[in-house]
Amino acid sequence: MREVSLGLILFFFWLALSGHYTAFLISIGVITTVLCVVLARRMGALDSEGHPTQLFYQALTYWPWLAWEVVKSAWSVTKIILDPKLPISPTMTVVEGSQRTAVGLATYGNSITLTPGTITTLVEGNRLTVHALVRDGALDLEGGGMDQRVTQFEGRS
């Protein structure tokens, strides 16, 4: 199943980047796609981590949510930067991720880093060490709102 999905995505990617739809180029694309899928399979990369098809559906709602979080925190960091007093209170803290899989934990860590104002600096087990620009940002993460949202995104698969 993952073979089919990866193949379709890769072939679509080829078509989009090529922009030339001659028989020759399309057949080259098919050959390339098949070769990539076979290689990925032999490498053992076609599992729930390498090609997490189970997350595609959840991503449809998770990404917009994350995008809005990014916009909100980017705006608050912008206000801090443009404030003449530069009201920062850098804080480091640890948070525990409630995700069960490596993909879920990586998503949580990357989501923290992607939102301006917080950076994941270390992941050990399910503990993430985070550097936050302001104390409130650190406390916000400790509250676990994003953690719960990522766990929901991860689902039961």
Binding site: A16, L17, V77, I81, I88, M92, P116, L122, H131
Partner: protein
């Protein structure tokens, strides 16, 4: 008529993208240490680049160029945090001390902390 409207809206996106890129640069200059500077840079790489690319997509319309811009946005969104994480971790590893107002890294190991487990030291 509709072209003018699309031009105007995409202009707003491109200009505000440029604004946030500028803000990121100002923050980079104003922040006191490496870690806080990275927070400023992340405004550029998320909101700045994002709005700029959305504005450019509007200029390109429903073409292959727009699709390539979408790929570009996805690439930034997936690789950006990875690079930031690697940079911050490398800096901590070689001993660049962050300027901190408060260090709460041991909060889960304290007896009054919410975490019952005794984890490894960060």
């Amino acid at each position: 008529m509709i072209d003018v409207l699309v031009d105007a809206i995409s202009g707003v996106f491109i200009l505000s993208g440029g604004f946030f890129i500028l803000v990121g640069a100002i923050g980079l200059a104003r922040m006191p240490d490496l870690y806080t500077r990275m927070h400023a840079a992340s405004v550029t790489e998320t909101l700045g680049a994002g709005l700029l690319l959305i504005g450019l997509m509007m200029q390109a319309g429903f073409t292959l160029v727009t699709l390539k811009l979408v790929f570009l946005l996805l690439l930034l969104v997936f690789t950006g945090p990875m690079a930031s994480h690697a940079l911050a971790q490398a800096a901590l590893h070689v001993g660049v001390k962050p300027v901190l107002a408060e260090d709460r890294r041991d909060r889960l190991d304290k007896p009054d902390g919410p975490g019952p487990k005794s984890g490894s030291e960060a």
